[in-house]
C-alpha cells in the first residue's frame, strides 16, 4: 500500500523560500533508514514581467543525480514543464518565459512552479508562487508644491501662442505596448516653439527645486490585466523617493520626488529616468520585475519670469530657456553671475554683428517712439528673420528678455543723448574704435543698456569698453560690460557730450 506523508527536510543552503516539501514513500520504515532527500526552489523572483523581457529563472536544489520534473501551474492547470537531472552539485536550472510550452502567452496572474524529484525514498516536491505582471506607465505629470521644495514654471510656446498647463500631462503614450513590445515614454521634443503632440514636453523649475513627478499606470496590456491587483510591485528610481502609490495598483497614481536638487545652479538637466519595477520576497530580497524609461529635460532657472506683466508671453519661452540656460550653465546661482554669462554669450557666441552703417534696430521698436516703451520682436529674433545685424536697442532687448525669462529681473535704460565715444569694440567686431560708423560717425544719439537697479549696475551686450587707464586712446584693453557700476560705465563709454541714464523700463514682447 502506498502512503504519502510530509516530513521535515534538512535545507543546507540559504535560499529563497521553498514553500513546501512532500515525500511519497512506499513504506515509512524505509524512509527512516535512507539518507534524507531534500528539494527546494531557489533564486526565483516573486514576480516578473514577461512582456518587458524579464523571465523567471529558477534553480531546483536537491541531491546530485536525481531525475527532476518541473511544471508551471495555474489553479491546478498545467502550463509548461521541464525535465532533467540534477547535476553533481544537486542543482537543476531552468527559466520560464511566461508562456505555455507551445510558446503562447499565458497572461498575467498567480502561478505556481512545482518541482518534483524521484528520490530513493520516493517523490518529493517543492513549490514556488510567482506572479506574472505587466507594469508600465502611460502618462506623466510634472508638479510642484508651491515652491516649498519644488517650484515649476509653465513655459510659453512662441509659435502657438500658448502656455504649458501644469495640470496637463507632459508625457503620454496611447498604449504601453506597441506590436506586443513594451514602450518607453516618448523622447523629449526638440521643437521648442509649439507644444508637442507626441513627444514629451520639457519642464522648467527653479534650479534648487526637487521636482515632483506623478505617473499613471497603463491598465490595458497584452497580458490582459496588469496582475498588479494581486502582486506587490514597487516603483524604484535612484535618487528619487516614491511619496505615494507603492505597491503599484491599477488606477492609483504614483508620485515621486527627487531627493535633492538636480543641479548646482541654473542650467539644463537632461536625463533618462530609469523607472525600475521591483518585487520583494519573504526574505526581504528585492527582485527586478521590469523597467521603463522616462526621458526628461529639466530647465532649471533662477526663478519665475522676471517680467512683471501678466500675459502668457511674458512667461519663459521654451526656446529661450533652451538657449539661455545652456549659456549660463556652470554659472554661480546668483543674478550677477547669470547676467555676466548671458552678456558673454550674446556678445561672443550668437554671431550677432553691430550695424556699423546706421546703428539701426532690426528687432526692436520704442512703442509710439516712447523711450520708456522698448518693444522686442522676440519671435522674429528667434528665427533671425531679419538677419544677424543689430543695434543697442536690440542687444538690450535680447539681454533683458533672456534674463527675465531665466528668472533674473532686468530692465532697460536709455542713455541720452548725442555724445561722443571713447574706444569701444562693437558686437561682432574685432577691433576698437571711437568712430564705429566711420570717420564722421564717432558718437551715439542714444544708447540702450540694461540694469537690475536703475542704473547703479550696468550690463551691455552691444559693446566692450576700453578697460585701461585711458579709455579714449588705443591700444585698448577689453572690458566686457558685466556688473559694471553705472558711473564707471559712462566714464569709460563717453568721451564728451551729455550722457545720462533715463527711462528705466521693463519692455514688451511680440
Amino acid at each position: 500500500m502506498q502512503t504519502t506523508r510530509t516530513i521535515p527536510v534538512l535545507f543546507l543552503l540559504a535560499c529563497s523560500p521553498a514553500t513546501s516539501v512532500d515525500i511519497s514513500t512506499d513504506d515509512h520504515d524505509v524512509a527512516d533508514e535512507v539518507e534524507p532527500a531534500s528539494i527546494a526552489i531557489r533564486d526565483a523572483a516573486p514576480a516578473f514581467d514577461p512582456v518587458d523581457g524579464t523571465t523567471l529563472p529558477f534553480t531546483v536544489e536537491t541531491q546530485p543525480g536525481y531525475a527532476i520534473h518541473v511544471e508551471v501551474r495555474r489553479d491546478g492547470e498545467y502550463l509548461a514543464s521541464w525535465d532533467g537531472e540534477s547535476d553533481t552539485n544537486g542543482l537543476f536550472a531552468a527559466t520560464w518565459d511566461g508562456r505555455h510550452s507551445d510558446g503562447s502567452a499565458v497572461g498575467s496572474g498567480a502561478f505556481q512552479i512545482v518541482a518534483e524529484v524521484e528520490s530513493p525514498v520516493g517523490i518529493i516536491e517543492a513549490t514556488h508562487d510567482v506572479y506574472a505582471v505587466r507594469a508600465a506607465f502611460k502618462t506623466a505629470w510634472a508638479e510642484d508644491d508651491d515652491g516649498f521644495s519644488a517650484d515649476r514654471h509653465e513655459m510659453y510656446w512662441g509659435a502657438d501662442g500658448t502656455l504649458q498647463d501644469a495640470g496637463l500631462d507632459i508625457a503620454h503614450i496611447d498604449a504601453i505596448e506597441l506590436d506586443g513590445n513594451p514602450q518607453d515614454l516618448p523622447p523629449v521634443t526638440d521643437v521648442l516653439v509649439r507644444a508637442p503632440e507626441v513627444e514629451t514636453e520639457p519642464v522648467a523649475y527653479t534650479w534648487d527645486s526637487r521636482p515632483i513627478l506623478t505617473l499613471e499606470l497603463g491598465t490595458e496590456t497584452v497580458l490582459g490585466s496588469t496582475g498588479l491587483a494581486e502582486a506587490d510591485v514597487d516603483l524604484e528610481l535612484d535618487g528619487w523617493t516614491v511619496l505615494s502609490g507603492n505597491p503599484l495598483r491599477d488606477g492609483v497614481p504614483v508620485t515621486m520626488q527627487a531627493d535633492e536638487a538636480l543641479v548646482e545652479g541654473p542650467g539644463i538637466h537632461t536625463v533618462d529616468l530609469s523607472l525600475r519595477f521591483t518585487s520583494t520576497d519573504t526574505d526581504g530580497a528585492t527582485w527586478d520585475v521590469g523597467d521603463q524609461i522616462l526621458p526628461m529635460r529639466f530647465y532649471m532657472t533662477m526663478g519665475p519670469s522676471g517680467f512683471t506683466r501678466e500675459l502668457d508671453k511674458y512667461r519663459p519661452w521654451a526656446l529661450v530657456l533652451d538657449e539661455s540656460l545652456a549659456a549660463v550653465d556652470g554659472a554661480e546661482p546668483n543674478d550677477n553671475a547669470v547676467l555676466d554669462a548671458l552678456v558673454e554669450w550674446i556678445f561672443n557666441d550668437l554671431g550677432l554683428v553691430y550695424d556699423s552703417e546706421a546703428g539701426a534696430s532690426f528687432y526692436s521698436d520704442y512703442a509710439m517712439w516712447q523711450w520708456d516703451r522698448p518693444h522686442f520682436f522676440l519671435g522674429e529674433f528667434l528665427l533671425r528673420q531679419n538677419g544677424s545685424v543689430i543695434n543697442c536697442s536690440d542687444a538690450a532687448n535680447i539681454l533683458s528678455a533672456y534674463a527675465n525669462m531665466t528668472g533674473v529681473a532686468l530692465n532697460q535704460l536709455v542713455i541720452l543723448d548725442n555724445f561722443d565715444l571713447n574706444q569701444i569694440k562693437a558686437i561682432g567686431g574685432n577691433q576698437y574704435s571711437n568712430c564705429p560708423f566711420g570717420p564722421w560717425g564717432c558718437g551715439f544719439s542714444y544708447h540702450a543698456v540694461t540694469s537690475t537697479d536703475g542704473g547703479n549696475t550696468i550690463w551691455d551686450a552691444t559693446l566692450a569698453l576700453d578697460g585701461d587707464q585711458n579709455p579714449g586712446q588705443l591700444p585698448s584693453s577689453e572690458l566686457m560690460v558685466q556688473s559694471i557700476s553705472g558711473q564707471e560705465y559712462l566714464s569709460r563709454l563717453v568721451k564728451s557730450g551729455q550722457a545720462a541714464y533715463t527711462n528705466n523700463a521693463e519692455g514688451t514682447l511680440q
Binding site: G359, D365, M368, Y446
Partner: protein, 127 residues
Amino acid sequence: MIIALLFTLTALASPPLWRSAPLTDVAGIKAISDSPSGQRATLAGGGIIRVHIADSVPAAEAAFAGERRTAATTWPHEPPAGLPGDQNAGDGEQMLLIRDRNAVIFVRDLGGDATAVTESIQRRLVD
C-alpha cells in the same frame, strides 16, 4: 458763409490723407506684421521696413520725429538732395526715413537701395 467757403476750398486744395500702405504688394518684402507703431516687414535681401499711417499730417510729423529719434543711433547731418518725401532723413542708400503727407516710412536696407525700396512703398500708398 465766406469762412465756410474758404474752409471748403482749402480742404479741396489739400491732398487727401493716405489710408493704408498694403505692403503685400511690394516686391522684395516678406514677413509683414503689425507692431505697436504700425506695420513692419523684412526686406528679402536684408533689412527692415517700418510704416506708420498717422491720422493727420501733424501726427505724422510727430511720428517722423519719433522715428528719427529712436530708429537708429546715428544719422547723416544732412540728407542728400533729391530724396523723396515731404520730410526725409538718412543717406538714401543704407537708410531712409521719409514723411509723405500722413505716412511715415523707414527703410534700413543692407543692400544699399533704401530710396528705391521707399519709393516702391510710396507708390502703393492708398488714399
